[in-house]
């Protein structure tokens, strides 16, 4: 089986970009990734080499009245004609599109593919965005009962606090860390540091979660180009982030139907496959992107990924283990909290930031990073997608 690597990355600005349409965002990310492709390959590889497009997007239908993004994006970024498809799995749509591209190359069908994650969220009123995001949950038994996305995570947070003694302060530390990491990120929606007091004085959205526990509503797009080992070797490309593992799992759509609401089976199943099937040694992971749509999600995910014991996530964070100099530096460029969370773009943006840590050109570059892991979550642990990238 051929190996597959990431050869170029690029993204648009993330933020409330009223002057940018869905297609403008796609073009910005496209132009950025093609510029990086030019740099990385010294002009030898261009968009003419792209054989397929895989778009990650959750809700352009509901939020921008536009579906069929495979065609729209290939058209506007200038690769009209290629096979193109949109993948969706709520907030994990970006990583699922990447996974589709990865398997298509591995199958021998093509050598070079483009992945583009995108979401345009500010073309509809913000209360309608709430409704659109709840499409990720169970419409009949959650949305119609008045539950919101923040509400779902609030239920998780309160139960985690009860069972394990997790504190308000521990949750706040997550937001503080991610904002701190995002200060230098030119693409980030929010670049200011915040304090624990800021988090704890921010408006309650769904008790116990407050504004600064939540990732924002964001417009943005992110793109990577991946290629087969044969292509990479033939064209003598270096500076490649190799895909060492791609793993996905799902859980029941209704949060009320889960085995547990403080331990997410989809993540546990996905990480099991990473270790057992793809033989990744988790001790080698030097950096991680962990889906922090809400502070509590990052905490629970760190436990489910096995970086600490179940129930000990709060302590782990308190001890500074997720900081840039901690045991497992997490969301080193700001996470969803600071960079923003254009739903379909996030999974691809995470892979860009891991790639940069592997290549050595991250804005918060760590030393001696050989492998990095990205966890992209759709819904409330409903779909978990893990990718591990490495130097070789």
């Amino acid at each position: 089986m051929t190996r597959v690597g990431i050869v170029a990355v690029g993204q648009s600005k993330f933020g409330e970009l009223w002057e940018h349409s869905l297609r403008d965002l796609a073009v910005d990310a496209g132009n950025a990734v093609f510029k990086d492709l030019d740099t990385q390959t010294k002009g030898n590889i261009t968009k003419k080499n792209i054989e397929g497009l895989f778009v990650g997007n959750m809700g352009a239908g509901s939020m921008a009245k536009q579906s069929h993004l495979g065609s729209l994006v290939s058209d506007y970024v200038g690769i009209t004609g290629v096979p193109a498809v949109r993948c969706e799995g709520a907030c994990s749509s970006g990583a699922l599109a990447f996974r589709h591209a990865f398997h298509t190359i591995k199958s021998g069908e093509m050598d070079v593919a483009m992945v583009l994650g995108i979401e345009k969220m500010t073309d509809i009123d913000s209360n309608h965005v709430l409704n659109a995001l709840m499409e990720a949950g169970d419409f009949e038994w959650e949305s119609l009962a008045g539950l919101t996305f923040t509400g779902l995570y609030a239920l998780m947070a309160r139960r985690h606090m009860k069972e394990f003694g997790t504190t308000r302060n521990q949750l706040s530390l997550i937001s503080v860390n991610n904002h701190k990491n995002g200060v230098k990120n030119p693409y980030a929606q929010f670049r200011g540091e915040i304090t624990i007091e800021d988090v704890e004085k921010s408006t309650l959205i769904a008790d116990p979660l407050r504004t600064l526990d939540c990732s924002p509503i964001t417009d943005g797009a992110a793109s990577v180009i991946i290629a087969s080992e044969e292509f990479i070797k033939k064209n003598k490309l270096d500076n490649v982030a190799w895909i060492l593992s791609s793993s996905a799992a799902t859980d029941r759509i209704g949060f009320f139907n889960r085995r547990s609401i403080v331990e997410l089976d989809a993540t546990k199943l996905a990480v099991k496959r990473v270790i057992e099937k793809d033989r990744v040694n988790m001790k080698n992971i030097g950096v991680t992107e962990v889906h922090d749509c809400f502070s509590i999600n990052e905490l629970v995910a760190l436990e489910d990924l096995g970086f600490c014991e179940k129930g000990k996530g709060g302590k782990f964070i308190e001890q500074g283990e997720i900081k840039l100099d901690g045991q497992i530096p997490t969301n080193t460029t700001g996470g969803l909290k600071s960079i923003g969370h254009p739903v379909g773009a996030t999974g691809v943006r995470q892979l860009i930031d891991i790639t940069k840590q592997i290549r050595g050109d991250s804005l918060n570059q760590l030393k001696n990073v050989n492998q990095g892991l990205a966890l992209n979550i759709g819904g409330i642990g409903t779909t978990s997608v893990i990718h591990v990238l490495g130097k070789d």
Partner: protein, 133 residues
């Protein structure tokens, strides 16, 4: 806009709390399914639930989706027959609840029927809510 059948389809479940029981493994199923989620059997019979249960976790929704009016309390309720369900807790003073960091966890509740929301046509949609015992 959502059409009438959406609400009508869930009539039996939402207004009468009629679920199913698996004839093969005994599992009580609510909301309804055609296949047993435990043993995959399709031999299921109708089964009425008591509507009593205990709060497993809860939150105060302060920013509501279209059709709902915040603030209100929404909880995960473990029904006494086994299944969990999401429902609004009504008839309590939110100012009392918000003072308690544990919320209403472990409190016993029973079912009632109330207006849930206004749909896109401005019509009232009724459904199940829960009262503290």
């Amino acid at each position: 806009m959502l059409s009438v059948p959406v609400f009508w389809r869930m009539n039996k479940e939402k207004y009468k709390m009629i679920g199913k029981k698996c004839l093969d493994c005994g599992l009580v199923i609510f909301p309804n399914r055609k296949n047993c989620p435990s043993c995959d059997s399709q031999k299921l019979e109708e089964f009425g639930l008591s509507g009593k249960g205990k709060i497993y976790s809860d939150t105060i929704i302060r920013v509501a989706p279209d059709g709902f009016e915040a603030p209100y309390i929404t909880a995960l309720i473990k029904l006494e027959e086994g299944p969990m369900i999401v429902g609004e807790i009504t008839g309590v003073d939110i100012e009392d609840v918000e003072k308690n960091p544990q919320g209403l966890v472990d409190k016993e509740v029973s079912i009632t029927f109330r207006k849930i929301m206004l749909n896109e046509n401005g019509l009232r949609v009724y459904g199940l809510k829960f009262l503290l015992e």
